[in-house]
Symmetry: none
Subunit: 72 residues, 2 copies
DNA sequence: ATGGAATCGGGTAATTGGGGTT
DNA sequence: GCTGTCCCAATTACCCGATTCC
């Protein structure tokens, strides 16, 4: 059944400005990331982006290529 | 002929506040979407908007990037 | 009937997106 | 190729008070 929501938890969303602050870049840059598909987002009917928080948090956590643990 | 009574289920409805939370926008913005026809809604006798959940869910599902396939 | 929360409507500031450039 | 900045138009956010919802 195509029940996208109603029983499902709504996705956490960030605004472009929030993401920009988190990454310490210009909001414009975040917009580019969305346009180039480097960040998943949905659009308001007005055309403004809402970025999936999970994607952002994952990137911030550095989940890409975890550095090798170094022994003491 | 399409039956409009008896077997028809009532449409799932969202309040403006619910839609606002889902999209991370101001409830006022949702009202604007309804007034500009970007979102279908019906009105309570008192004039409050009730948005069709299907429209919202569809818009909410419009991600810019499909979820990355896992297992590779 | 009462009360708290939500919605509406108008007006104004802030944010956002797009194009072009550095 | 990636990012930051300027200009401009559109979209969105916040202020107020009155009405509606439950």
């Amino acid at each position: 059944m195509p029940e996208t929501h109603g029983t499902a938890r709504p996705p956490r969303l960030y605004t472009t400005t929030e993401v920009a602050r988190l990454f310490r870049v210009d909001p414009k840059t975040v917009t580019r990331w969305v346009r180039t598909g480097q960040l998943r987002a949905l659009r308001t009917p007005g055309g403004h982006a809402r970025i999936l928080a999970d994607d952002v948090d994952a990137a911030l956590a550095g989940l890409t290529q975890p550095p090798p643990a170094r022994g003491g």
